[in-house]
Structure formats: C-alpha cells, structure tokens
Symmetry: C2
Subunit: 342 residues, 2 copies
C-alpha cells in the first residue's frame, strides 16, 4: 500500500491520468493545463453541462460499496443527466477530496471504475482537481455533452394529452440498498459473516453498478420519436413526475398497473414487508428515463423495447395522480430521497 503523500498531488494526478485515451474529436486537449480545450464549434450543436457531488457517509457507504463500482457509478449518473436532455456525454472532469485513510491503490481502484465507465460510453476524462480532505471521500464530477440544436429535451415541454413513458423498471436499486444495509447490520458484529445474495443479483447490480440509458435515446432516434419533456429518474419516479408537471405546468395520470417492476424487486418488497408500489415510486437511483411524447406517437411507443407507457399528461387543474388498480386517484407526493432530512 502506497501513501498518497509519497507521490504528492502532481505525482498522483500524473499517475492516475497516465495514458488516458481520447475517444472523441470534440476533445482538443485533456488533462495537464489550466483548462481542458474542447471544440463544440459545429453549427448545429448545443453544449450540455451537468454536475454531481457524491459524499461519503451521505451518498455512499464504503463498507459495502467497492471503490471500482463507486467510480463507475459516479461517472454514469452524470452521463444519465446528459442522455436525459437527448444528448450524448463527451467529456468529464473529476475532482476528488481524499482523506488520510485512502492509499494510492484505493484511488487507482476508484479511477479504474471511472475509466471503465468512460470507455463504455465513449467519454473523455479531461481534467479535475485532487486534494486532501479532512474526513471521508469526496467525488465531484462534471460532464459536458452535446445535443443537436432544436432536439435537446427539457423538463418543461410536456403538453396536455401527451403520453408519459418510462424506461426499464423501477425500485430495484432501492431494494438493493435496503438489502446491503440489512446485511451490514446483521454482519457488523461477526467478522466471518458472509452475506448470501443468491437470486438477488439484479437488485445489487442496479444499486452498485447502474447504467445510463444510452439505448433508450438510440431507440427514440431510431423510431423518429419527438419527446416533449424528459428527465432521468434519480430521486424516485414521484419526485421526477412532479418536476415535469411543475416545469411544464401540466397535471398527469399514472397507472399503478403500468409501473414496471422486476420480479426480484417484488419478491424483496414482500420479504421486507414493504409496499411495492411505494418503493417503486419513491425508491430512487433508478437512472431510468422518464419522458413524454405527443399522443400522435402512440403507436411508436407501443413498439419501444426499452420503455413503456405508464400514463398521460392532463390539464394542470387535474393535478398529478396515481390511478390505482381499483380506479382510485391518489395525489402523487415526492417522498423520495432528500439531501437534507428533517
């Protein structure tokens, strides 16, 4: 194990960023100067920028999250925000605050995960900042991407009668987190404790190694669909639906029986005695895409492999409601993850 102080800041950065590939021609110059230089000068291109701050003890727990997975996830959640604009992620900067308990090898693992995510998604790591921290690991990633002018999709474009769709399935990442938290609790007094996650691999994967839905964006383009509003599901479906309703000044109806849920999620909710729909609506960290399309694209939605119809947009006066299996209308409330718990 190598103490970070033996390399120093510039030594560590040099070590971590050695042989960084450049995947995209919009990267003119990467790591190693006061700024990275990018080229977004093509006529029909809009530049997208998003940033996420991940803090140990708040967003992740290293007792059960491998550093490699953490790095991968930290990058991917930023890519997800770019796809959510109907864009393509191109570059990231990575800032790290590192406390004394981390060694060079630890940070290498973290960086391996970040580099792998960049490789998988064709993104270039072009800069960052590295510092000691007083306590804990701090990861701040900013992602730059590109969208086609006139084709980037905001949260504010949903209109009455639009169809509401979501990709993949919901609630699994939340169940994975509950599972990991429980096993941590069970195993904390027993150094030989080995958790048994057989049959629950999907839940863990969704929590520990989520993917960003590049394939959904690709299918939307393939089917020549025109989303009117879009965002990614990071804080829970309820919270995100309310954002779209608020920003677009519309209401909506979401059909309980249309909410996509994996069977492992359902089994786990039963085991935990949790309400499955509540978990799926409020769990968060799904990194699925929630979007609306005009009613005229109904047939295209039916052909989508990566997403499904879950409801419809209404006039604002009707509010945002979940329609239960027995046709009751329950107002949707954001009960998802909150950064500042009371």
């Amino acid at each position: 194990m190598t103490e970070i102080s033996t390399l120093g800041e510039f030594g560590l950065i040099g070590h971590l960023t050695k042989n960084l590939p450049i995947n995209h021609d919009s990267t003119v110059m990467g790591v190693g100067d006061d700024c990275a230089i990018l080229d977004y000068s093509k006529k029909d291109v809009e530049t997208l920028i998003t940033t996420d701050l991940l803090l140990e003890g708040i967003h992740f727990d290293l007792t059960y999250v491998p550093l490699r997975h953490l790095g991968y996830k930290a990058a991917v959640v930023n890519f997800s925000d770019v796809y959510a604009m109907n864009g393509q992620p191109r570059q990231i900067t990575v800032s790290l605050g590192i406390s004394k308990r981390f060694t060079v090898e630890h940070i290498e693992e973290l960086y391996d995960g970040i580099r792998l995510a960049c490789e998988q998604y064709g993104v270039d790591l072009v800069g960052g900042d590295t510092s000691a921290s007083v306590t804990g690991l701090i990861i701040s990633i900013t992602c730059v991407g590109e969208g086609e002018k006139g084709k980037t999709v905001r949260r504010s474009g949903a209109r009455d009668t639009d169809l509401l769709c979501v990709s993949g399935d919901l609630g699994a990442a939340y169940m994975g987190l509950q599972l990991l938290e429980r096993e941590k609790e069970v195993g904390k007094d027993d150094p030989n404790f080995q958790p048994d996650f057989a049959g629950k691999e999907y839940l863990l994967e969704r929590q520990l190694k989520p993917e960003a839905r590049r394939d959904v964006i690709a299918e939307i383009a393939e089917l020549d669909m025109h989303p009117t509003a879009m965002m990614d599901v990071s804080d829970g479906l309820s919270s995100e639906i309310l954002h779209i309703c608020h920003n677009s000044n519309v209401g909506c109806r979401v059909y309980e029986d249309r909410i996509p849920i994996d069977y492992q999620t359902a089994l786990q909710a039963e085991e935990f005695g949790m309400n499955l729909v509540t978990a799926a609506m409020n769990g968060g960290e799904d990194y699925e895409l929630l979007f609306t399309v005009p009613l005229t694209e109904h047939e295209k939605v039916q052909h989508m492999k990566t997403a499904r119809l879950i409801g419809r947009i209404t006039k604002p006066s009707l509010g945002a409601c979940l329609v239960t299996r027995d046709d009751a209308e329950i107002p949707i409330q954001a009960q998802g993850w909150t950064a500042f718990p009371k």
Copy 2:
C-alpha cells in the same frame, strides 16, 4: 436563522438561484433541468473547462474567512484558470456540500459572494448540485469559458530565448494568510480580542478577496502580443515556472531583483523574520499570470502596465534557476502549497 431542512434541497436551490441573471448569449438555459444548455457553436471558438474543489479545514478556515469572500474567491480562482488560457470565463456550475452547522443565511452569504463575482466578470451561474455533508463545507466549482481558435495559450509553448513575464506582485496573499493565522492564534483565548490590521489591508485583500487578471489578458490583446505559454500563479511562482519548463521542455533564468513585491509584503516579511524572496516565490494564491512571449516582443513587454519581465527562457540543459542579486544561480525548487503534506 433558518435551518436548511425547512427548505429542503429543491427549496434551497430555488431560493438561492431565484432571479439569476443571464449575462452572456452563450447561455441558452441555466439552472433547473438535468443539464444547462450552452452554445459554443461559433466557428472560431474553442471551449475551455476547468474545475476547483475547495474544502473547509484544507483550503479555508471559516474562523477568519467571511462566507461572502469565500464565495467570491471560489468563483474567481476558476475564472483565473480560464484567463490563463487567454480565454474568457462564461459559465460556472456550483456544487455545495453543507454540514448541519450551516443555516440558510450562511449559504445565502456564500452565494452572494459567488453572484457578485459572476456579476463582476460577466459570468453566468448555470447549474450545480447541493447536498448535506457529514462535516464541513465543500465547494466544487466548474467554469466553462471560450477562447479564440488558435489563440488559446497552453503551458507547453515556451521556446528558448522567449521572455518570461509575470503580472502584479507576488507573496502578498501568503503574507495575508500568515497574518490571519497569527491573529487567530493570539486571539483564541480572548473573546474580546480585536486584531489590528491597519496598514496591512492590501495583504488581507489579496488573501481574502483576490481578483482574476482579466486586465492582463485585455492588455495582451491591446498590445497585440502573442504569449507562447501561460498559466496562473496559484501554488507559488517556483512551482508554476517548473510546470512551464517541464511542459515546454525548456530551462529558464529568473532574476531575483525583477520579482515584483509590494512594500506591505516586504514589511510583513521583515516583521515575521521571513526570507522575502522565498515567500514571494513559494507563497501561492497570487492568481497572477505567468507567461512567455517571443524575444521580438521585448518592446511591447516594456510598455505593459499590468505585467513585467522577470526572466528568460533557455535551453532545457541549463535548468531552471533563480539568478540572485550577486549573480549566483540557484536551482528553482517547488516549495509551494501541497495538497498532500508528508
């Protein structure tokens, strides 16, 4: 005083980003979606990106740094990196990690400083992320700027016989820090202690409210000068000179008697019994611009109001040396601020 949990994450962000102005036409859409949308699609434009992570207890001490100044400085140090590429800062994203001891009013003060810096420099605040932290304040700012294609200046372009120049004066911010640290020490057991900073205002200002040298870039353009290499002085002149020498594969001679030092810095060094040149060469946080120009621009350098000649670039085999007043050559070593002290 308002606890942050009473507003929640989205309430706090909404509160802080209310009525954010948009100063520059490259900002298409700011805060409030998955990404901000920027437009860098002009033909001769390069996009610049830089990021800085500031951590309480490592980079700043809130016992003597007002939050408003901290916000201003956190933004300005990023602008400085963009000017150091011969570019113009245009947008920033601001991510904050906030521990329980901070109230809404505290974060308002911090934001006031960030907004003031943006106003002064014509930069738009377009996004960010806000979260609780376990301990301390975390500030991660990313700045996007633009440069003219072919006119951005890297660290790697210095050539033998180029002239080495630096703007402003050096060592004052470091002296300001020493002064604040001393007064903190002296006053720590006396609640009624009032430090007397009369005659030392410049040192405090350089430490607490530095400016980025937009005026130097303007003068370089005005005089039609063509810097071959440039960077900002954040970790100390010695450290930055070695970066330019390393990246450009050159050596240099810096003349001790040419190093610009303010008289308050000199007085304070004497009071502290410190070596003045060492402090000026290694102090850091000056945010001045260090640059090289071809020998043919010697006359233009002599006309500069914002910068002066301090040395010359040599063949790499001659190494990087400080030439003392009595003509001794001392190898330059980076002794400046280090993120990972041994």
